[in-house]
């Protein structure tokens, strides 16, 4: 469950806060679990809900516009990351996790709910209180942002190796 919390948070400390808050909810509402379905799934849902509440409560600037991407130093012209073959192994899960944590909050939230939890945009829009189009655009931009981060990271590693 800590891995789930890491995906929804900006850093390890925030993830631990989510984990702590989520598990306290689990134990407080353990009687509500009726034994139908996966218990792990039930806990995971509580963790995700905790993350969404945390997102609503603490994140002020939730939705990132296109121009914000420029602020983090990534141009839109950079090639999109398209993992194929050996290149797919060049980015470790830890690195991917760190890059996800670097994403703007809105991107990260929509990406998590869509890609990892399997929600549709309509459901995501309801959960986050935004329009369906906003959810779609945030997902699209989030993907692009993450790909750019990965490309940039790979480019840096390549340059370091060249210097060696």
């Amino acid at each position: 469950m800590f891995g789930v919390c890491l995906r929804y948070s900006r850093n390890r400390e925030e993830a631990e806060d989510l984990l702590q808050e989520g598990f306290i909810k689990v134990f407080q509402h353990i009687a509500n679990y009726k034994g139908t379905g996966s218990f792990e799934g039930w806990i995971r849902r509580i963790m995700v809900n905790t993350a969404i509440n945390h997102f609503h409560a603490t994140v002020k600037q939730q939705w990132v516009h296109v121009e914000d991407i420029e602020k983090v130093g990534i141009s839109q012209e950079e090639e999109q990351y398209s993992p194929q073959g050996e290149e797919a192994y060049a980015v470790s899960p830890e690195t991917v996790m760190q890059l996800i944590q670097k994403m703007p909050d809105g991107y990260r939230m929509v990406l998590n709910l869509y890609v990892f939890e399997g929600y549709q945009h309509k459901e995501i829009a309801n959960m986050l209180g935004v329009s369906e189009n906003t959810s779609k655009s945030q997902l699209s931009k989030g993907r692009k942002y993450l790909k750019q981060l990965i490309n940039k990271l790979l480019d840096k590693e390549y340059k370091i190796l060249e210097q060696l």
Binding site: G35, S92, V115
Partner: protein, 500 residues
């Protein structure tokens, strides 16, 4: 095309971090443990907050026993009256007087009336009170004596007295200001005989106690006590009063008979085979050892059908068992010292240039740290006891040794606990209900005694030992805990048995 790329990218993300595992710092678990509001079970709890059903059962048993107690007394009254007279048409059962003796006109054969004082633990002691009777106040002017004997339960007598009073009031014998009341306070046995036919004396049991019957509230209260011993009381009643009894039937004071009809005493000396129902509560506590593995206490409730004679007893029935486990579990973990980058792979591109791949690796100290976690487990079983044993009657008390197997079928298993998985040292919790019925066998050994509250209702008390024949918890059947308990309950006899 774009959609396909997005799908590939999403799949890459899912494979990469979809099942990402990481360990939080141990301090997180400590904080969680501190913040979770665990309810500490009280010592010697009968199941913590799950005792509602036990309370309902106990309440039902108490109310039921009171009802049965009253019912058994009433039924005993009627049955004895009928038997003693041998003439059900006497109508006595229908009269408010359950204990009336009428002496023949020419006689004061009160000597025919004997009373046996009852003692609970020994043979009855016979006491003739005839000698004391003639010394009593002179007979009424008519020469007849009508003796109203005590009988019945105090409340019954009182109610009957009220009925009598009503009837007597209608005929103007008892003034509206008067009440005819009775109270009783001693057990004794009375023999009665028909003075004309010289029929053999018939015995009935007088339960409870005779204290006084008097008219109160009137201007001139009429004393009615004519004879008494230290344990017995006899009362005189005028012919007018007896004749005024509603619906007397053949019960007429003009007939020269002695009717000594008293009843309501419990017969504790049954000798024949008996069938009875036994409702019990049976709290159990785990014996020493294994207390950190199994439930410290269990609560059993059962209703069993019991057959017994003078020497043997068989018992079988059905019930529920609620087992509660409240444990503190020690969870061991290693203190996280920090995270270092660990080289996991090197890849080479087409030019042979290497790429080094690292993963953060947690480093723990070698000392094992410990934290205490709480667990709560509740298991409900259906129990089917099959017991047999020996019993010995001593007056009201029956001593017994009961033993036999008890089959348990697990109906529900709810568990809330922390657990350390072997690979991750991460605390998890789970709660589940069994998909399959799990059976368990116990062997019961109890040393009980039963005290007859009435001729039908008894109180049962049995310290018992319960040994597990198999373990419902362990696949390897290694742990078979032993429980100590006390089985208590109320027994209700279904048949009459044979009276001495």
């Amino acid at each position: 095309m774009k959609g396909e790329e997005e799908h590939k990218f999403d799949e890459f993300l899912r494979q990469s971090v979809g099942h990402y595992q990481a360990e939080p710092s141990p301090a997180v678990w400590k904080t969680i443990l501190q913040k979770i509001p665990f309810k500490k079970p009280p010592p010697f709890s009968f199941g913590g907050g799950n005792t509602g059903w036990l309370g309902i059962v106990a309440g039902g048993m108490i109310i039921g026993s009171i009802f049965l107690y009253q019912w058994s007394r009433d039924s005993r009254d009627a049955a004895t009256i009928k038997a003693d007279n041998g003439e059900s048409s006497l109508g006595v059962q229908e009269t408010p007087f359950t204990g009336v003796a009428i002496l023949p006109e020419e006689n004061t054969s009160i000597a025919a009336i004997q009373a046996e004082k009852r003692q609970d633990t020994g043979p009855a002691v016979e006491e003739t009170i005839a000698a004391s009777v003639p010394a009593q106040p002179a007979a009424p002017p008519s020469g007849n004596e009508h003796i109203l004997s005590n009988s019945g339960h105090a409340s019954v007598v009182s109610a009957q007295g009220t009925t009598v009073t009503t009837g007597l009031r209608e005929q103007g014998i008892v003034s509206p200001q008067e009440n005819l009341t009775a109270a009783v306070n001693q057990d004794f046995k009375v023999q009665a005989s028909d003075q004309i036919s010289n029929s053999p004396p018939q015995t009935s049991v007088v339960s409870q106690e005779a204290a006084e019957v008097s008219r109160t509230g009137g201007v001139q209260p009429e004393p009615m006590l004519i004879a008494s011993s230290d344990k017995s009381y006899y009362f005189r009643m005028s012919r007018e009063l007896l004749e005024a009894v509603p619906e007397p039937g053949e019960f007429s004071p003009k007939e020269p008979r002695v009717f000594r009809i008293v009843s309501s005493g419990p017969d504790y000396f049954r000798t024949g085979p008996e069938f009875s129902l036994l409702a019990t509560l049976h709290p159990e506590w785990l014996s020493a050892g294994n207390q950190n593995r199994y439930g410290q206490n269990r609560q059993k409730a059962a209703v069993t059908l019991r057959w017994q004679n003078q020497s043997y007893r068989l018992e079988g029935g059905i019930g529920l068992v609620k087992e509660s486990i409240r444990n503190n579990v020690n969870v061991y973990y290693s203190q996280l010292l920090g995270v270092v980058d660990k080289l996991v792979s090197i890849t080479f591109d087409s030019l042979g240039i290497p790429t080094y791949h690292y993963v953060p690796d947690s480093v723990y100290d070698t000392r094992t740290h410990k934290t205490t976690c709480h667990t709560s487990t509740d298991i409900t079983y259906l129990q089917l006891p099959f017991l047999f044993g020996l019993n010995e009657k001593k007056g009201r008390t029956t001593f017994s040794v009961m033993t036999g197997p008890v089959m348990l079928l697990q109906l529900k298993h709810t568990e809330t606990s922390y657990e350390v998985t072997p690979d991750r040292k991460v605390l998890v919790t789970y709660s589940n209900a069994p998909h399959d019925i799990i059976s368990a066998w116990h062997w019961h050994l109890g040393f009980g005694f039963e005290y007859a509250l009435t001729d039908r209702v008894g109180f049962y008390f049995e310290p018992a030992l319960t040994a597990s024949l198999n373990s419902p918890y362990e696949a390897n059947q290694q742990y078979k805990p032993v429980y100590l308990g006390i089985r208590t309950g109320i027994s209700v006899q279904l048949n009459g048995g044979n009276s001495k």
